[in-house]
């Protein structure tokens, strides 16, 4: 190349450098604490803490949210220290995944946190004796009944619901009796109302991982009695797959779902009552899964040099003030005991009350698939085989229990 050409190249390079220099991206800005959330919590957090400089003095909070929980999970899976968050909010299952992968940092011991959050909440955020997050709110469902269809008072027993469905099925064009909006996860209250469930409970209420409850004699008998007709086929009472619209359309009188769906149900014009799922007698109730959503401190916070500030934000997440503000926006019962006591929203209170009859969701046990498949997939198979294909209740539940027994035993041993 001659001198003239070098001059041209030099000019081009200099122009390019000048242009690109203006737009060079940087990693997370210094002293900025980046919080990741999904599409539900993200906009709420954005309203509350985006740009905040007082929660953690010396630091600025930045909220980034994703289009769905799946998208958040996917981004989290692919995240590295270069672009990962300092704090991530999400379901309790993030605790075990993040702890195993080393992407979450253990939280420092803080009486502020441990004294203000119930043990069940802390337990949901714990993996291998380490606390990896603070529970933000109770992630659970409640029982809903359509007041226009069934009446102002809740059904007293499971049999009352079945009787109402059988009697009014044709006259009112009902397409189902009870709808679990959230599929297998949301249907747990139906299982426990009929004497089933994942595992048996010890006398002190703790989980007995040595006994699978899904194939108990009582449950088998009650499935046949309440959910199947005399020929062993489904009566259509129990719905778990895409039935939410039918409840909103007044074609299903009872449902189980969480606070996140209440708006949509109200907008559909359904007047509903809230409570716990009726059991076999008027004094027993179905127990839905009670879990916690949490905020988790990532190990990236240390790499970004903001771990002290991020810890401070975690304390805000655990605090009464923080949780009260978040609950006011989300409608979910707060995990913080004092904040929960101050809730006045009737729907939130209804879910909180229903949560009292719930059972702790031990995610690592339910997600375990040592037997071949996890709890949710096994339950999906059970529902398909019994209610869609009309297969034997006893054989199906025993086969499912054999898989679950291996999963739970492995969890009991290895955690």
């Amino acid at each position: 190349m001659n001198k003239k050409r070098f001059g041209v190249v030099g000019f081009v390079a200099a122009a390019a450098l000048a242009v690109s220099g203006l737009a060079v991206p940087t990693a997370n800005a210094a002293n900025t604490i980046v919080v990741w959330a999904d599409e539900q919590r993200g906009p709420q957090l954005e309203k509350l803490i985006e740009g905040n400089k007082t929660i953690a003095p010396g630091y600025t909070i930045q909220v980034k949210y994703f289009s769905a929980l799946d998208a958040l999970q996917s981004a989290w899976d692919k995240s590295t220290a270069a672009g990962g968050p300092d704090i991530i909010t999400g379901p309790a299952s993030f605790a075990s995944q993040g702890a195993k992968s080393g992407k979450l940092a253990r939280l420092g011991a803080s009486a502020t946190i441990t004294n203000s959050i119930p043990k069940a909440g802390l337990s949901a955020m714990t993996y291998s004796k380490g606390l990896y997050g603070v529970p933000l709110d109770v992630d659970t469902t409640a029982f809903l009944w359509n007041k226009t269809l069934f009446g102002a008072d809740a059904p007293a027993t499971f049999a009352d619901m079945v009787s109402y469905y059988t009697t009014n099925k044709s006259a009112k064009g009902l397409t189902g009796g009870i709808c679990a909006f959230e599929g297998t996860w949301g249907s747990h209250a139906v299982l426990t109302a009929l004497g089933g469930g994942a595992w048996a409970l010890n006398k002190n209420g703790t989980a007995n991982m040595n006994t699978v409850a899904l194939n108990s004699k009582t449950f088998k008998a009650n499935v046949k009695k309440y959910l199947l007709d005399s020929s062993g086929k489904s009566t259509g009472f129990f719905q778990w797959d895409g039935c939410g619209d039918a409840f909103k359309a007044g074609k299903i009188p009872f449902a189980i779902t969480g606070a996140w769906n209440f708006d949509g149900i109200e907008k559909a014009g359904v007047k509903f009552g809230l409570g716990a799922t009726p059991g076999l007698t008027s004094s027993t109730k179905g127990a839905q899964w009670v879990n916690y959503s949490g905020a988790f401190l990532t190990s990236y916070a240390a790499s970004h040099g903001v771990s002290l500030g991020a810890n401070k934000v975690m304390k805000w997440f655990a605090s009464e003030a923080g949780q009260a503000k978040m609950s006011a926006l989300s409608g979910r019962p707060p995990a913080n005991t004092a904040a929960a006591g101050a809730v006045t929203n009737p729907s939130t209170l209804g879910v909180a009350k229903a949560a009292l009859t719930g059972t702790p969701q031990i995610s690592p046990a339910l997600d375990n698939k040592t037997g071949g498949s996890n709890w949710y997939d096994v339950l999906g198979g059970v529902y398909t085989d019994i209610f869609t294909k009309g297969k034997s209740v006893d054989a199906t539940l025993d086969a499912a229990a054999a898989i679950l027994a291996k999963n739970f035993a492995n969890y009991a041993t290895n955690g």
């Binding site: 690109s20 010396g58 080393g102 992407k103 011991a109 002290l308 997600d367 997939d377």
Partner: protein
């Protein structure tokens, strides 16, 4: 005379410089972006592209390269790099719990090994400097005792300090408070602070206003590459799967682990572990069947329609336009609509016939559904190429055969079909390879199901290799990216081998 895009002389040179400046700007921006993300290999590649682009487009003797360079860069970026990366990853134990580097894992284990005391003792803290050293005034939560903590000692103080409105001490003779703004810029120094209490215990800042009483439960010896649990005395050594395991109990392993290099592990696992191998063989057979039946059905229907519409019939243009419609609609929309139509309860097909057929929960019916929907999506393509190929066959051949007394079916079987197959072989092979990896149709229509989980099956009846790979990599809370990469490498060899074999048999390559 210099020419570029219809311009000549100086305007062409200015246009060229402008374009190069834009390209260079983009590459420099990418270079710094890669550096900011600490991706050294990527930044090196971008730098090489930058140098190559400027050399090729400003040198006079590189004329052929000016046309080839963009294609070569794209080939390198989107074919070779992912291929090399996938092959490399298949040699790692890369799964949930084994995702980070060994150094990062050790750092994490040590950090996690900071154990609080039984009472979770915590302190409200005012951070500052005392006699030039980082220090803290501490208020013990619960007991309300006040301490001055320095790098040398932690001593209780009962007087001489003042507290703020929350009762947290913030002044003491010789102590100067550090503002949060100043402290936040010196995090590294503050995070490293350990105010010693003796007997292995220390107080460490957890936030700018909070500290905790901790002990170091886990320690690492670099010389022997071992971890020791200081409270139990257990020693942990690294295994070949990327975890520290108890030397007396190999089942006792510490998480997180790291991505351990073990080149044959995933491949051995794939071929020997019955849990993985069982589904793999079934899925492989269905993948071959699916790709073959799909290409056969699409080609047959496309050819039939092409022959019919090659004749002069009424409304031929209208029919041709209508037949293109399935091809014009985005496939993911069509697939989701078809999935709804086959729904047992609400689907249009069951409603039409007054049935309750559970298409998606029967392995055979679900496979048929996939073939039908894929036929719907793919036949217009084959109709188009068959039409074009038919029109390319010289009419004289058909006329000559007719004069020799050949029937219509004989002309089709003996003349048109062999010629068509010769012309379309590369497209049929490419279509086979595409459908071998047709993720969308399976994932959106059946999700790979139905899966008989109660019979212990891990793969669904309609899972093909690529969806099975996806499930292995991302389908649950426990991901296995290394194994998924190994399956991907096998898919590459299978598809590549079959395609090469087909191309050689059809002698298509001879004409190139």
């Amino acid at each position: 005379m210099y020419r570029l895009a219809g311009f000549t002389g100086l305007p062409a040179q200015i246009l060229k410089m402008g374009l190069m400046a834009l390209i260079d700007s983009f590459l420099i921006w990418m270079f710094f972006a890669a550096l900011a993300k600490e991706s050294t290999p990527l930044s090196v590649v971008i730098a090489c592209v930058f140098i190559a682009a400027n050399f090729v487009y400003f040198a006079k003797f590189t004329l052929p390269l000016k046309f080839l360079l963009p294609g070569m860069i794209l080939l390198l970026t989107f074919v070779l790099v992912p291929l090399v990366y996938t092959v490399t990853m298949s040699g790692f134990n890369y799964r949930t719990g084994n995702e980070i580097s060994k150094d990062a894992a050790i750092e994490q284990i040590i950090a996690n090994g900071l154990a609080p005391d039984a009472n979770n003792t915590g302190y409200d803290m005012t951070l500052g400097k005392f006699e030039g050293d980082w220090s803290a005034l501490l208020l013990e939560q619960g007991t309300a005792k006040v301490y001055l903590a320095t790098p040398k000692e932690v001593k209780e103080i009962t007087s001489g300090f003042e507290a703020n409105e929350y009762g947290i001490p913030n002044t003491y003779p010789g102590f100067s408070e550090v503002t949060p703004d100043d402290a936040s810029t010196q995090e590294a120094a503050i995070v490293a602070l350990k105010f010693p209490l003796g007997q292995g215990q220390f107080i460490a800042p957890q936030a700018l206003d909070f500290a905790a009483l901790l002990t170091q439960a886990m320690s690492y010896d670099e010389a022997t590459d071992t971890l020791t649990n200081n409270s139990t005395g257990a020693t942990y050594k690294p295994n070949d799967e990327g975890n520290f395991v108890n030397i007396n109990d190999p089942t006792d392993k510490i998480l997180p682990g790291w991505r351990a290099w073990n080149i044959f592990r995933n491949y051995t696992h794939l071929l020997t572990d019955p849990v993985v191998r069982g589904p793999f063989i079934g899925v492989f057979i269905w993948t071959i069947s699916f790709a073959f039946l799909t290409v056969l059905s699409m080609f047959s229907v496309g050819l039939l329609l092409a022959i019919v519409l090659n004749r002069k019939i009424k409304l031929r243009r209208f029919y041709r336009s209508v037949l293109i419609l399935p091809y014009a609609i985005p496939s993911f929309m069509s697939i989701l609509i078809w999935a709804g139509m086959f729904n047992r309860q609400f689907g249009a097909i069951n409603a039409l016939f007054g049935t309750q057929i559970d298409f998606m929960n029967s392995p055979t019916l679900a496979k048929m559904v996939i073939l039908i929907v894929n036929l719907w999506l793919g036949f217009p393509y084959f109709y188009l190429i068959c039409s074009g190929a038919l029109q390319a066959i010289p009419a004289e051949l058909e006329e000559a055969a007719s004069l020799d007394g050949a029937s219509t079916s004989q002309i089709l079987r003996r003349i048109k079909l062999p010629l068509l197959l010769q012309i379309l072989s590369p497209l049929l092979i490419a279509s086979f390879a595409f459908n071998f990896n047709n993720f969308n149709i399976v994932y959106l229509l059946t999700g790979g199901g139905p899966t008989d989980v109660l019979a212990g099956k891990a793969a669904g009846a309609t899972d093909i290799l690529i969806t099975y790979t996806y499930k292995t990599a991302f389908g649950s809370n426990e991901q296995n990216l290394g194994l998924a990469s190994a399956i991907s490498v096998l898919i590459f060899f299978i598809v590549g081998g079959l395609s090469l074999w087909s191309l050689r048999r059809s002698k298509v390559l001879d004409t190139f």
